[in-house]
């Protein structure tokens, strides 16, 4: 495992063996909880720089897949690779930004302190950290709450904070789980802009969402049902609607 990978390099990432790697690759990936299969063995490859929409009804395995990609869950079998590196490895953690559906914040750190420490943990510091933090707070209209503790935040504000924290650091793979839940319309628009920006700048983006608006933006749609791959093709609102129903 390469511990010193620079995930932000604007070049096609190479895996440890020097071959061109997919942004996200699931190989025989499965997850079981006792007798219940949350995800049946899945093979899926998301190309570098692709913008993919992940859809499926509740309990279809979307969150399980994304959490295994982030390294938060361990596969029962198979593996996930991020830019060619095993999910959860130091290099994969440097490459992947994970925006979860449930914001988890420190109750005793202000928003600006969250941005500072999480940025520093990802190797961003100094002026760059300040600039990125200010830009994100501006985009999500968080600037006037910069020094407040999250305990005073509404669900939507917490979600915006969580998104800002996920984006404060550079990444080459962005994995997002139900990002629009709890956001107001300006927040949704800001997030759509950010996702599109990330894609334009070459990042691999995978978004699990039921939002039909996103079908217009996504290049590809992957549908899951009962933990199995149900669809892999063009993202159209009609197709998305069929997959989530």
């Amino acid at each position: 495992m390469r511990d010193d990978v620079d995930a932000g390099e604007d070049v096609t990432p190479l895996g440890p063996d020097g071959a061109v790697a997919a942004g996200v690759e699931a190989i025989g990936l499965s997850k079981r909880y006792g007798h219940h299969a949350a995800l049946e063995p899945l093979d899926l490859s998301v190309g570098v720089g692709e913008l993919v929409m992940l859809v499926g009804p509740n309990g279809s395995g979307k969150t399980t897949l994304l959490r295994m990609a982030s390294g938060l869950l361990e596969p029962t079998d198979g593996e996930v690779r991020i830019d060619g590196f095993p999910a959860g490895s130091l290099a994969a953690r440097a490459a992947l930004a994970y925006l979860p559906d449930n914001p988890v914040l420190y109750d005793d750190l202000s928003l600006v302190e969250h941005l500072e420490f999480i940025g520093r943990l990802h190797g961003v510091s100094g002026e760059e950290l300040e600039e990125r933090g200010a830009a994100l707070m501006d985009r999500f209209h968080l600037a006037d709450r910069a020094h407040d503790l999250p305990a005073t935040f509404s669900r939507g504000l917490r979600q915006k904070t969580s998104l800002a924290l996920g984006l404060i650091r550079p990444f080459s793979v962005l994995v997002v789980d139900e990002p629009f839940v709890g956001l107001d319309q300006p927040g949704k628009l800001a997030l759509l802009e950010l996702l599109a920006d990330a894609h334009e700048q070459g990042a691999t983006v995978v978004v699990a969402t039921h939002s039909l608006e996103f079908a217009d933006v996504a290049e590809r749609c992957v549908g899951l049902r009962d933990g199995e791959l149900a669809y892999d093709g063009e993202a159209t609102p009609a197709q998305v609607e069929r997959l989530v129903s």
Partner: protein, 567 residues
Amino acid sequence: MGQAASRRDDGIDPDPLVGAAGGPAGVAGAPASTVVHDLGRARRRNRAAGVDVFEGFYQAYLTAFGCAIAVLLGSDAIGDQRATADQVARVVAHGPAVVGLGVAVVLAVALRSGSRGGPLVLPAADVRHVLLAPVPRRDALRGPAVHQVRFSAFVGLVVGAGVAVVAARRLPGGVPEWAAVGGGVGAVVGATAAGVGLVGCGRRVRPWIASALAAALVGWAVADVVTGRVTSPMTLVGQLALMPLRFHPPSLAVLLLSVTAVVAGVLGVGGLSIEQAERRATLASQIRFALTLQDLRTVVLLRRQLTQEQSRPRPWVRLGALAGGRTVVWRRDLRGVARWPGVRLARVLLLAVVAGGCLVAAWAGTTPLLLVAALALFLAGLEALEPMAQDIDHPDLPSSLPVVRGELRLGHAWVPLGTMVVVALIGWGTAILVAAAGVFPVNLAVTVGAAMVVPAALLATVGAATSVVMEPSAGGNGFLPAEIAGVKVVLRAVWAPALVLLGLTPLLVARSSHQHGVAAGPAAVSGSIFPLMVGVLGLGWLRFREDVHEYFRATTAPAKGAATGDA
């Protein structure tokens, strides 16, 4: 997609999300350990800034006041009968192995906890932000691991010193000497347990392997107890603990093992499973919240989730199909017991043995151990009351049945009562075994124990049922002075265990009679009459609780209406 690049019309340049710096702390930025350290320091600073100094002093004053009262009352309650020379000789011969067995149980629990990701409980935000950052996990986790070792050592120190002070009242040697040795050995055991747990989680020891190792440790210690030989390191710890009676220099070698376990645990903690860390973080925060509400039932449920304890898909014993009629509730409850997982059976068995052992020690003069016996029976009662607790958890279900709620609740009490009778019988058997080892006459254990089985089981059931049925504290003390609100909170917490303690008082009556030359058996029987009456009243309370509440509501409503000018 094309909209993305041109949609910024607010004059702010789109920031490069991809590219530029990136990479792990320690590669591109400050060393990882510095960032993690700074993060912790900032959190502590913010927490300290939010603390009201006077409120803090007041809480410290109340705590110190409460502790002082507890120490004064406790000192009086502890028997001061000095052990005879024969008893001291027996403690010297068998004590180390018995203490070693206790140490083995602690290490076994730590090992099993380690296989499930314990003993570390990280804040959920640390799991999400620090452990998912490109920071070497061994660096990020070293601080919390050291903190855990320190905390476990401190808990061990306090418990060890407390037990040693009790021992000092009966055994030769001064209190300071016993307290110092007990505290020191307790700290060593606490730190070692944390180290063993950290090794288990860092090395990702599989639960079945951890269980096998835990059983081997306990078995080894039991072998030392039975054979009277010193073969296990745990017995060496026992020798250290009894140093004021006899010093065995070779037993100091066990400290090396302790240091090894702690060092290996702290250095290897980076291998912990992030999935388990996240699960523990979430459940532990919920348990803390439930504890603040004194919601024991929720604590029990969350603890089961934390230990991944689930009912058996296949029951130990197959019972026939559920028929209607009055026995349907009993049969449902029996099915629940028949599906108890092996771990729960073992835990209840252990609690029964602990209760029996503590009652023997209380008979022999160490009265405070009656409290430990009551606590053990209370915990066993909470396990036995599971079916009733499930009805309380899901109130819609009993409400939808054409049965009076009180009758249903009372119906749920019989199988737990039967279970607790079995638990009490096991405790009684333990007492007889200990008596047979020559500690005191067997006939005393038989007669006094026989008189205690039913009141102990009944009051344990009623006490646990009281705790299960009582709703969690919903606050409402805001208008009371702090001292009264505090007393109310304490009473609420101790009420249910106090009922269980009442069921053990026949032992005190019998002991007192025995000391005055009166037959202990009949005295125990007469001493059990009052607890039995209270137990029956408790069952009545379970049946008529709603009716009594309704009566008081109806009685006080006119007065309240008048007070608010609602006439």
